[in-house]
């Protein structure tokens, strides 16, 4: 089993938190992983991405070869489009529809969503709205993880354990908030994909 995904977003949107939860769940499931992340200058409000590779065998490259990526998980719609040439032809894009506008030439959101809809396998999630329903606009990243969890080769129990473990140091309230965000994101994805 091999599964490669790219996490995409803007510095500060919490893609490293998503990465940590997936890493941990992979470990619980006995899988190997390599996860390349971005630190330093680019983290200051710039485009950031993390290449995350899961396998039950050895993993060589820390970077995903172009054409091998199975899933792009984007917490921001413009960022969803930045790494498309990594995606294999049958790959999936799970993207938030909530724009993070911090550049003057940010394109019209409708154009971005149209471009995502042109990809054969895609899922667009209103992460901002669902995060607020869960209790805070700040948990959009975990809403997206919940939505993408349907595509990950990871057992739900492992993801939930990893999620709890990651947020536990910040208290039970924060754990519950993120569990809710995850659950609502996953529900939304099931609804859109018509899975019961």
């Amino acid at each position: 089993m091999k599964f490669d995904l790219i996490l995409a977003g803007v510095g500060g949107q919490g893609i490293l938190s998503i990465a940590f939860v997936i890493d941990r769940a992979a470990l619980l499931q006995g899988l190997n992983f390599k996860q390349a992340e971005v630190h330093g200058m680019a983290q200051r409000g710039g485009a950031v991405q993390s290449h995350l590779r899961l396998s039950d065998g050895p993993i060589y490259s820390d970077l995903i070869p172009k054409g091998k990526c199975d899933l792009i998980l984007a917490v921001e719609p413009l960022e969803a489009l930045r790494y498309l040439d990594y995606l294999q032809p049958e790959g999936t894009v799970v993207s938030s529809s909530s724009p993070y506008v911090n550049i003057p030439d940010y394109p019209p959101i409708a154009d971005l969503l149209d471009s995502i809809r042109e990809i054969k396998n895609h899922l667009i999630i209103n992460a901002d709205q669902i995060a607020r329903k869960a209790g805070s606009g700040r948990v959009q990243n975990i809403v997206m993880l919940g939505a993408a969890s349907l595509f990950l080769p990871l057992e739900l129990d492992h993801l939930l354990s990893a999620l709890k473990e990651f947020f536990q140091p910040r208290g039970q309230k924060i754990v519950d908030l993120n569990l809710k965000a995850f659950e609502l994101g996953r529900q939304e994805a099931r609804l859109q994909l018509k899975i019961n």
């Binding site: 803007v10 510095g11 990465a19 890493d23 941990r24 470990l27 190997n32 992983f33 390599k34 996860q35 390349a36 992340e37 971005v38 630190h39 330093g40 200058m41 680019a42 983290q43 200051r44 409000g45 710039g46 485009a47 993993i59 060589y60 490259s61 820390d62 970077l63 995903i64 070869p65 172009k66 054409g67 091998k68 413009l78 960022e79 489009l81 930045r82 498309l84 040439d85 990594y86 995606l87 294999q88 032809p89 790959g91 911090n102 550049i103 030439d105 940010y106 394109p107 471009s115 990809i119």
Partner: protein, 532 residues
């Protein structure tokens, strides 16, 4: 022991702890910062010394002191940090190491967060010391442990060369039983006192050790040679993480080439000769400069052999490698994939945070400089270098740590006015004191603005030595005229008053220092979160 999840940087740090580390020093810099971050977290429990230093030179000198005292020391830095530490680094090969001395340097090919992509393997060669180049987290851990033993065995410092993609990649490792810290008797003063009479002798010692270093490299199990026999005329030499890119593409190669993975320097000559004897063409795949390739090719090349790599144009000379570059160099067809969008995607460069104090200082500076369109603003290295971009477009230079003040003084010396330096508090502590001392003694007609946000912000908020009251006292102590040492608080409501103050100081025909002091917004947020 249990599986342990670590960044490449952290695997090195854990290796050092398990090798019986006594003390570690560093200055923050991407992609090396997480070595020390990890060590500081672990040091409280384990009882070794782990500290941020004022700069890389001081860090290396402290590590050298630890080594002379018979204990194991690590110093970590980004590649350009080794330029700052180059003086003690090169000389430490002559003094030799007593307790194991390991110099960890993280290169940044592609300049993700740096001003150049220099390759530290040249520094290891320059100092004539042994160098490990890990390709995986496990190797980073194992090599660091071995580096301490090797340093003590040969009596020289040892380098670990990392690159961004390993330093900042996370994976799991299997640690081994740690060894306890030990103490060696202190060494010989004639080794450490590099008077010409001693240094000549010591240099000969270093030269005499080269054969042993080469032998150790040739025998190292981290170098792996797999000969394909005469079935393939192609050989591949790959080092560090570049070897991973070869292995990534390996299953798709119809005829398997001979393969040498190089993980240690000096170059394992015997292994290279063995490979070269079997092949007609060799492809050299390495991250950074064409170090191996250039050594192999020399001036004249090798008669009858084709050497391919960066110099031949098969791989790019700049930027980091990827599995895709290597795939192409191996002659494999690109994998099927989705095309990029036809229209370009708006780029999203990094920028100053909302509410950043530097942003306010730059807006004030722009306001003040409306009357001085010819002003040159010499800037330095930190978050504030982002002031280059609109809407600020406020700075004209970024060269190396502390360069702003020296450059502004040079321009002022030849009559340029206004000549303005902009430097952060930590950068000032790192390398700004000495040029300011000179400017103060000569009362040069220039304006220095120190942006004091109280932290090393860009690398994640490490401690700054030259901040707050301490900073004011330091500047005064260097001999800056108290009347022209001014403090401002960069807030939007102070814009007019602050701009007027800056204009006043620009017009003063001598040295002025303005300290713009307000806490980094990220650090303020962190504190607030901690109190919640």
């Amino acid at each position: 022991m249990e599986k342990f999840v670590a960044l490449g940087d952290e695997a090195v740090a854990l290796g050092a702890i398990h090798a019986g580390l006594a003390a570690a020093y560093s200055y923050p810099g991407t992609p090396a910062s997480e070595v020390m971050e990890f060590l500081i977290r672990a040091s409280q429990e384990k009882g070794f010394v782990a500290r941020w230093s004022v700069n890389e030179k001081v860090a290396l000198e402290q590590a050298l002191g630890v080594s002379f005292a018979g204990k194991r020391a690590l110093v970590s830095m980004k590649h350009v940090g080794l330029n700052v530490a180059a003086d003690p680094f090169i000389n430490s090969s002559l003094t030799g190491a007593n307790g194991g001395l390991v110099v960890v340097v993280a290169d940044d090919p592609s300049m993700h967060s740096s001003q150049n992509e220099q390759d530290s393997r040249f520094y290891a060669q320059f100092a004539q010391i042994f160098c490990f180049e890990p390709s995986s987290h496990q190797e980073a851990y194992e090599m660091t442990r071995q580096a301490f033993d090797l340093s003590e065995a040969v009596g020289l410092p040892v380098m670990i060369r990392l690159v961004t993609r390993l330093a900042h990649s996370r994976s799991s490792i299997f640690p081994r039983e740690p060894v306890s810290p030990k103490s060696l008797p202190t060494g010989e003063r004639s080794h450490w006192t590099l008077l010409p009479i001693n240094a000549r002798r010591r240099f000969q010692v270093v030269l005499n050790k080269q054969e042993e270093l080469r032998r150790l490299s040739e025998e190292s199990p981290f170098n792996q040679l797999k000969l394909a026999g005469r079935s393939s005329p192609l050989g591949i030499i790959a080092s560090g993480i570049a070897a991973n890119y070869v292995l990534e593409n390996w299953p798709d190669l119809e005829s398997k080439p001979s393969f040498l993975k190089i993980s240690t320097y000096p170059l394992p000559e015997k292994l290279i000769r063995k490979l070269m004897d079997e092949v007609d063409t060799v492809l050299v795949v390495e991250e950074g400069y064409p170090f191996i390739e250039r050594n192999l090719r020399g001036l004249m090349g090798i008669p009858g052999k084709r050497i391919r790599g960066k110099l031949s144009g098969d791989l790019p000379l700049s930027g980091e490698l990827s599995p895709d570059h290597v795939r192409q160099a191996l002659g494999l067809k690109a994998l099927a994939r989705l095309p990029k969008l036809s229209s370009p995607i708006a780029s999203r460069p990094p920028q100053l945070c909302q509410g950043c104090p530097h942003a306010d200082t730059f807006l004030v500076l722009k306001e003040a400089l409306k009357d001085f369109p010819q002003a040159m603003v010499f800037s330095d290295i930190g978050c504030y270098t982002l002031g280059y971009f609109p809407p600020y477009s406020a700075i004209d230079t970024c060269v190396c740590m502390g360069a702003s003040i020296g450059m502004a003084k040079g321009a002022a010396d030849v009559g340029y006015h206004p000549s303005i330096a902009v430097i952060g508090d930590s950068t000032f502590g790192h390398s700004g004191l000495t040029p300011l001392l000179e400017a103060a003694r000569t009362n040069t007609k220039m304006t220095v603005i120190i942006l004091d946000n109280g932290t090393v912000a860009m690398t994640g908020g490490q401690m700054s030595y030259a901040s707050g009251e301490y900073l004011v006292k330091m500047v005064e102590g260097l001999g800056v005229n108290r009347e022209h040492l001014r403090l401002i608080e960069p807030l939007p409501r102070n814009l007019e008053a602050n701009a007027a103050l800056i204009k006043e100081e620009i017009n003063y025909p001598g040295l002025s220092v303005i300290i713009a002091s307000r806490e980094c917004i990220q650090e303020a947020r962190k504190k607030k979160r901690g109190q919640e």
